[in-house]
């Protein structure tokens, strides 16, 4: 550093003409160029792939429209099996055997024999909510309605498949007939059990009479205001969760979740053990009495599904995860805990059927990342971690394709609250 400021003897004299040596382009420039080129190509391929997908989707939709308008072919049986296995077999069993003490059989069911495919479609469109006697045994369960989950063609295919395969019927039901049934069923409650079905369909075997419809719970005026208009810093629940509690995007469906689960979540938002800015703000202003009333309000709410598969997930993979699990990555079937068809098991296991797919995928990611950590035993944390992004989207989309849970009947609500407390909240340790 000594001679830095001195006149450098090596400097050219004034007459020197500067020239550029023919230097090679530095290696890094090549790298950049190559990298950018690769990137460009990949991007091109990717976009063309997704346009292709979108094109296919649109084509499929067009086809569906065409198919829905076209008269049903003689042969809906093949796809009927698929629709049945994906939507009905979860409860009624692959062979239509039902489940003893809980779900009536379809195989050789005297109801199905007497009413045929048309009656099956009528049942699928509205669901059943009262006692029904099948082959001499009385069941008092809740059959979901598929009006918001399946289109006319799918219901026609499933109903025809059931009638033909399990009772040997010759006739199926056409998509047009199902469209008529859909029109007639619009706005109707579920069938109030076998008695109402028998009144509408001549020839059914004797049915138990439906119990007196439970008096509507006296709607708490305070709650109605909170839900629809809000009060002070409690913003209206409906403004985000929808008029029917059906949710949208990452705002969850609330309709039909167990009351104890809803109440626990609201307390957790309040106390900060579950984190979400909007909900924390809303929940902090709620009293305990309001929380209980809001939980009841949503638990008994019946609402059609507001969810559709929308994350480009692989539905077959999703169905596999939900019904069988993927034990090679340590994930048991979702339905072993969340109940067959994802209807939940009160009080601790929320329903997943018809939940918003973006919300489900988001929650699974939050468990994986540790930002949702208020679950009993941390049961969901390992599951969230084990699923990769594609699996989360797949299972979320499959769950979105299911019919919504028939809401907790009002009569059962009080009974449930008195003997079932939500599990003590435990924080998982990660």
């Amino acid at each position: 550093m000594t001679d830095k400021n001195k006149q450098d003897p090596r400097l050219p004299d004034e007459t020197f003409e500067p020239y550029e040596a023919n230097r090679r382009i530095p290696l890094p420039v090549y790298w950049i160029a190559i990298a950018l080129a690769i990137w460009g190509v990949v991007m091109l391929v990717q976009t063309s792939h997704s346009t292709l997908l979108a094109d296919k989707e649109r084509a499929a939709l067009d086809k569906q429209d065409v198919a829905a308008n076209a008269p049903v072919g003689a042969e809906p049986a093949a796809s009927g099996k698929t629709v049945f296995n994906a939507n009905c077999a979860t409860c009624h069993g692959e062979f239509g055997t039902g489940s003893v003490g809980a779900v009536p059989p379809l195989a050789n069911s005297d109801i199905v024999k007497a009413g045929g495919a048309k009656l099956i479609a009528q049942i699928a469109m509205r669901g059943i909510d009262g006692p029904i006697t099948v082959n001499g045994t009385t069941y008092d369960g809740h059959m979901p309605n598929f009006a918001s989950a399946l289109d006319d063609k799918e219901i026609a295919a499933a109903a025809s498949y059931v009638a033909r395969t399990f009772t040997g019927a010759k006739d199926g039901v056409s998509a047009e007939a199902v469209a008529e049934i859909r029109k007639a069923s619009a706005g109707q409650d579920p069938w109030a059990g076998g008695a109402e079905l028998a009144a509408a369909t001549p020839g059914l075997p004797a049915q138990p009479s439906a119990p007196q419809a439970a008096a509507d719970m006296v709607q708490n005026a305070d709650v109605a205001t909170l839900v629809s208009q809000g009060a002070g810093s409690v913003w209206s629940c409906a403004s985000c969760h929808g008029d029917q509690g059906e949710g949208t995007q990452t705002v969850p469906r609330l309709a039909g979740l167990p009351a104890a689960y809803i109440a626990k979540q609201l307390h957790d938002f309040q106390q900060g053990t579950r984190e979400n800015d909007s909900m924390a703000y809303v929940a902090k202003a709620l009293t305990d009495a309001q929380i209980t009333a809001l939980a009841d309000h949503y638990a008994v709410m019946r609402a059609p599904s507001g969810a559709r598969p929308s994350l480009d997930g692989d539905l077959a993979r999703g169905e596999q995860i939900a019904r069988e699990g993927d034990w090679s990555i340590g994930v048991p079937a979702c339905f072993t805990c969340h109940g067959p068809s994802g209807f939940g098991v009160a009080p601790d296991f929320p329903a997943l059927a018809a939940q918003q797919p973006a919300y489900v995928a988001h929650q699974l990611a939050m468990w994986a990342g540790g930002s949702r950590h208020n679950s009993p035993l941390g049961l969901m944390a390992g599951i969230g971690k084990a699923l990769n992004d594609a699996d989360r989207r797949a299972v979320a989309d499959y769950l979105a394709s299911l019919p919504p849970v028939p809401a907790t009947p009002k009569v059962e609500l009080t009974a449930m609250r008195s003997d079932a407390q939500p599990a003590k909240e435990t924080t998982n340790d990660q």
Partner: protein, 357 residues
């Protein structure tokens, strides 16, 4: 920098000769970074990045198990053939998963095969069927005879499924389609395994002896903290809104009887250690697994169907249970265990004590 030699080519600028070097370094650094960023984002896009980086690893839950690498993978359900044999396999699977419905006449409790043999009988260390099928027929000291697979399944119905409380009062008769379909299912899932060799993953796996004697009090705490969410505070499991049993009862009239393998504390401890809580196997310590197994197995349950013809619990204990690590014949909370918890079990059992469960 002082020792720079004059070069033949003229320096690029009038000032410091080191300037070219710095510029070069900057270019290298920037481009290196760019290349890394581009490659990195490509790797991410295509899912090539390792799980620990993205936080969504597909790593299997680590469990206190043996050599995972050696475990057999049974075939996928979608590969069940679409023919008559496949139909039988599917019926077998349906019996396995909803036994109370599909083998209704022979089931005397609220359990399914798949409650203890997880993943429809495919999960290693929860006594998978692919590990059992290739080692039968086999001599069993439980009934002192060579057992065929049919004998063995018959034992499961007799004890674990408490057939004495079923509509027919006993297990499926020899030759029943129930055995046929279940065996077709097991056979199908064992494809490729050598016969006569016990594969890794068989049974419930090993569990070390506990440091301290199992304690019912500690077990009760472990149960309340880790099991009750699913199995209920009273151990009776939980049903869904339609009345379908979703979580199985662990004791009482709707659970396995005193002759079932699971009544032995060591068997239950191994099962629990390797499989429970569901989705978090390995969470419990060895001591906790023993404690809670002892707690579960110290409750009343349906009587041992071999205790017939006026045999007292004491006789049965001496004849059948003295070698077992269990609570049969012991008095817990003032109650002699082994008398039976089943309202139905008063009726005379109609089986011959010929098989094992």
């Amino acid at each position: 920098m002082t020792s720079n030699h004059p070069s033949d080519t003229p320096p690029p600028g009038p000032d410091k000769p080191s300037r070219g070097q710095t510029a070069k370094r900057v270019i290298y650094a920037v481009s290196g970074g760019l290349v890394l960023a581009v490659l990195g984002s490509l790797a991410l896009d295509y899912g090539l990045a390792p799980g620990w980086l993205t936080g969504q690893g597909n790593t299997p839950t680590p469990a206190a198990k043996g050599d995972q690498a050696k475990l057999f993978t049974p075939p996928d359900v979608s590969t069940i053939p679409d023919d008559d044999f496949g139909q039988s396999v599917r019926r077998g699977m349906a019996i396995f998963n909803d036994t109370g419905t599909n083998a209704h006449d022979y089931v005397g409790n609220a359990l399914n095969c798949s409650n203890c043999h997880l993943d429809a009988g495919r999960q290693a260390y929860s006594a998978p069927m692919w590990a059992a099928y290739p080692v039968y027929p086999k001599y069993r000291s439980k009934n002192k005879m060579v057992n065929t697979m049919e004998d063995r399944i018959r034992g499961c119905f007799t004890y674990s499924m408490n057939a004495q409380g079923s509509p027919t009062g006993g297990p499926p008769p020899y030759g029943s389609d129930v055995y046929r379909d279940l065996q077709a299912y097991f056979f199908w899932m064992s494809k490729g395994l050598p016969t006569g060799e016990k594969p890794e993953g068989a049974g419930f796996g090993k569990i070390d002896k506990p440091e301290k004697e199992p304690s019912l009090d500690r077990g009760a705490e472990v149960f309340a903290a880790n099991c009750a969410v699913c199995h209920g505070k009273d151990g009776q499991g939980q049903k869904d809104m339609n009345g379908k049993q979703v979580f199985p009862p662990l004791w009482g009239p709707e659970s396995y009887n005193w002759g079932a393998g699971m009544h032995k504390v060591d068997a239950a401890a191994a099962f629990i250690k390797h499989n429970m809580p569901l989705s978090e196997p390995g969470k419990l310590t060895t001591q906790e697994a023993w404690d809670v197994a002892a707690f579960v197995d110290s409750h009343p349950r349906p009587k041992d169907p071999r205790q017939v013809n006026g045999m007292t619990v004491e006789d049965a204990f001496n004849k059948l249970h003295h070698k077992h690590d269990g609570y049969y014949g012991k008095t817990v909370d003032g109650q002699l265990l082994g008398g039976g918890a089943s309202p139905q079990s008063a009726g005379a059992p109609q089986q011959d004590g010929n098989s094992g469960g």
